[in-house]
């Protein structure tokens, strides 16, 4: 079994790596393009906004159909669908991160680039890319967590009569769970958790510290510590990795820089200028065309005959919404007090932050069957199990944003409340909670996004050849997938996306706009 696990782990990891590579390239190209040009921004950012608020898992069946058709059946199509799904869980927030970094560059630095006559490529290389590094690293951590979450869910998919399965840790765990093989399941989960923790220790934590030097802030922020990072530095690992990256960069940089330096009016320069404009236009057109094509396909499925089950959609949405609301309230009830405590006490912060980071990056999807098994067994409620599952997909976003919010409260403000003798409840009410509000709203938006995703997996769970289900939009969606009812599937997805978009537009965005005026802290 150990051998199977090792091979499966390697396969799953390579899937993640491919998806992440695509996400990284996509994020940098998309983010920089959108960040540089106002015209591109107007098209690209709304698209990204919609993509980000769409529950990825809802699209998985559709993606599988598409890729299997593309690869004319067979494993490659499923493989591509899985990578695509992971990609859709990783790319958007990274692209937003790059876009934010490019648009919030201090104007004196962009002006300096213009004044020194840097070409667009040099500007990218010297300014935009380095300035994006902290955001890229931070979002990469989130993206990997999301990637694992989806990986577990997408290595096995059944549509209609056919069931596709990819060898990997996710399918290993799912097969164990379908066979009710507790030992195998625990071994699979153990391997997954071990990989996540190792990645965090060996890669992400050192990278986070390295990324600090690219931060555009002049106040001394608390830089975390990592023994591993110190080890990399003292043993020369950091230097040799840096050497490889540098050589790779130089190989890429030299030819492009030579092209970029061509005088604008020379024949070759003109050609490249035209190419560049073409590329930019093409990119924007492609993005728009892709969006339109997807829209057209969706509309074709919405046309009559309308399946009868569509009548159930409103009630299903309501049930699911209530489940999310309960999970949201539970999340707030523990994340806010914890964040306040962490904000008050540095020692607690040093313990809680890394623990929370690791806990959040362990994919809860791997635990779903276990949770269902125990909750249904001991409490007899599928509903409660569904709420708990949604909670696992929602709470971390709230926790991280609440923690970040509590950390952002300026030191002088905290000292001020203490020096005037405000005790803890008053201090939280008057100073810290208001200061945290914008972050909490951001966390709520992403948390609800994660919640909707988890919902799809929460209302219909298979464990040991038994299906545990509870009425909701997730149940409807999975049932439609399992029975191969594509029209119902599309109707459910559209209804769900519509509700999410409406909530974002009319609740969260308004709240955020109000909060960012009232609760902004400007130095």
């Amino acid at each position: 079994m150990l051998r199977t696990i090792a091979i499966d782990a390697a396969l799953s990891f390579s899937r993640m790596l491919v998806a992440y590579g695509c996400s990284l390239v996509f994020a940098i190209v998309y983010g920089v393009t959108a960040g540089r040009s106002k015209r591109a921004e107007r098209v690209m950012i709304p698209i990204l906004d919609v993509l980000q608020s769409v529950p990825v898992l809802a699209f998985f069946p559709a993606a599988v159909y598409f890729f299997i058709a593309l690869a004319r059946g067979g494993r490659l199509g499923v493989e591509m669908a899985a990578v695509f799904l992971i990609f859709t869980g990783q790319a958007w927030n990274m692209a937003f991160g790059v876009y934010e970094a490019v648009t919030t560059l201090p104007s004196d630095s962009t002006e300096a680039c213009a004044a020194f006559g840097l070409s667009p490529w040099e500007r990218f290389r010297r300014l935009e890319l380095p300035a994006s590094v902290p955001k890229i690293v931070y979002n990469s951590i989130l993206s990997w967590a999301a990637g694992w979450y989806f990986l577990v869910a997408c290595e096995i998919i059944s549509i209609g009569k056919s069931s596709y399965s990819l060898p990997g840790l996710g399918s290993f765990i799912q097969k164990a769970m379908e066979a009710a093989d507790m030992g195998g399941m625990l071994a699979g989960i153990g391997a997954l958790v071990a990989i996540v923790i190792l990645l965090d220790l060996l890669v992400w934590r050192p990278l986070t510290i390295w990324a600090e030097k690219y931060r555009f802030e002049f106040t001394a922020a608390a830089v975390g510590e990592s023994r591993i990072f110190d080890l990399y530095r003292s043993t020369g690992v950091a230097r040799s990795v840096g050497g490889v990256v540098d050589r790779f960069w130089a190989a890429l940089d030299r030819p492009i820089a030579r092209i970029a330096r061509l005088p604008r009016l020379s024949p070759a320069g003109r050609v490249f200028h035209v190419l560049r404009v073409l590329w930019r236009t093409l990119f924007v057109l492609l993005a728009a065309a892709g969006a339109l094509a997807i829209l057209a396909v969706i509309v074709s499925f919405l046309r009559p005959p309308i399946p009868v089950e569509v009548r159930k959609i409103p009630a299903a949405l309501l049930f699911s919404f209530c489940r999310l609301l309960v999970a949201y309230v539970i999340s707030l009830c523990w994340t806010i007090p914890l964040s306040l405590w962490v904000g008050e006490n540095d020692r607690v912060a040093r313990i809680v932050t890394p623990v929370a980071e690791v806990a959040a990056s362990i994919p809860a999807t791997a635990f779903f069957p276990l949770i269902v098994f125990f909750v249904v067994r001991s409490l007899g409620s599928v509903d409660l199990a569904a709420v708990l599952l949604v909670l696992t997909g929602m709470q971390w976003y709230l926790l991280f944003n609440a923690l970040a919010g509590a950390r952002q409260v300026p030191g002088e403000m905290k000292e001020m409340t203490r020096s005037f003798g405000l005790r803890f409840p008053a201090r939280a009410r008057k100073a810290i909670l208001p200061a945290m509000t914008p972050s909490l709203i951001t966390g709520s938006v992403t948390g609800w996004g994660g919640g909707w995703n988890a919902l799809i997996l929460s209302e219909y769970v298979t464990y040991g050849r038994r299906v545990y289900e509870t009425p909701g939009i997730g149940q409807l969606l999975v049932r439609a997938t399992v029975s191969g009812n594509v029209r119902l599937l599309v109707w459910s997805i559209v209804a769900m996306v519509l509700l999410i978009s409406l909530l974002n537009r009319f609740v969260w965005r308004r709240l955020y706009a109000a909060a960012s005026v009232r609760f902004r802290i400007d130095a």
């Binding site: 300026p410 002088e412 000292e415 001020m416 003798g421």
Partner: protein
């Protein structure tokens, strides 16, 4: 200066019933911070005695720990070794007889001017009526009459710091601590605000006994304080403790004023 200032303003010192003599002192105080590279000493073996009626300025280059000393006096942070004594007894925790004015104003942007000024009064459990009266009184004193309902973001830097002063004065502290109160302001605003600060201290209705100002401007220290303590940097140690005997109001063009400034300046560089 508080006594001297009043004397030059032609006033009789106000103490009819003898107030208990106030004292604030640091005895051999050291403050270390734990860094990954080992402990870093920010303040080392500092002894300062401040008596009631004194205006003390702490000057020194950045990194001399002057703000740290101020925070230890307020009881916001404990010393690593040594003792901070208030009226002869070691302070444990925040000293409620102190009020502090901050470099970045530390106003709460979601509260109005009135609510910001009332903040310290809320913590002291005063009745609502009295809180309002006092807050309005001190808002008037700092010249912000009519801005009670404004929010900090609608105010200029100078006005924000006036709110900071009003908030500190409103708790009617015995000790006023000021952490570089003017360094976030432009030069002209600073000059005006300094003069108003001198006027405030002359005001018989403001009963502050000890004032401590942290600044990196030697001129500011010499203009305002009765006594200047000069600190060295990395770690902070007392280099000199000098009484400023110049008569008030002080004139920056006075050669004696400049002599003192250059004397302190040569100590630091």
């Amino acid at each position: 200066m508080l006594e001297t200032a009043r004397a030059t303003a032609g006033e009789v010192p106000r103490s009819t019933e003898a107030p208990a003599p106030l004292s604030l002192s640091l005895r051999n105080v050291t403050k270390d911070y734990e860094l990954p590279t080992g402990p870093l000493s920010v303040v080392e073996d500092v002894t300062i005695e401040v008596a009631g009626g004194e205006f003390l300025a702490l000057v020194g280059p950045s990194g001399c720990g002057k703000s740290t000393i101020l925070r230890m006096m307020a009881g916001l942070i404990p010393p690593s070794s040594g003792a901070v004594l208030y009226n002869g007894a070691p302070i444990g925790g925040v000293n409620m007889d102190c009020a502090m004015v901050f470099q970045s104003f530390a106003l709460l942007p979601w509260l109005s001017v009135l609510e910001n000024v009332q903040l310290g009064l809320d913590a002291r459990g005063l009745p609502a009526e009295e809180r309002r009266r006092r807050a309005n009184f001190y808002i008037d004193k700092v010249g912000l009459d009519g801005y009670e309902e404004a929010y900090p973001r609608e105010l200029s830097g100078g006005m924000k710091q006036r709110v900071g002063f009003a908030r500190a004065l409103a708790v009617e502290p015995k000790i006023l601590l000021m952490d570089e109160p003017f360094s976030a302001l432009d030069a002209l605003t600073t000059i005006n605000l300094r003069e108003e600060l001198i006027d405030l201290f002359r005001d018989p209705e403001i009963r502050i006994s000890i004032a401590i100002l942290v600044t990196h401007s030697i001129e500011e220290a010499v203009e305002l304080a009765d006594r200047v303590v000069v600190l060295s940097s990395h770690p902070g140690r007392v280099l000199a403790d000098r009484r400023i005997g110049l008569p008030r109001p002080r004139d920056r063009r006075d050669p004696a004023f400049n002599d003192i400034v250059s004397e302190i300046f040569s100590l630091i560089t």
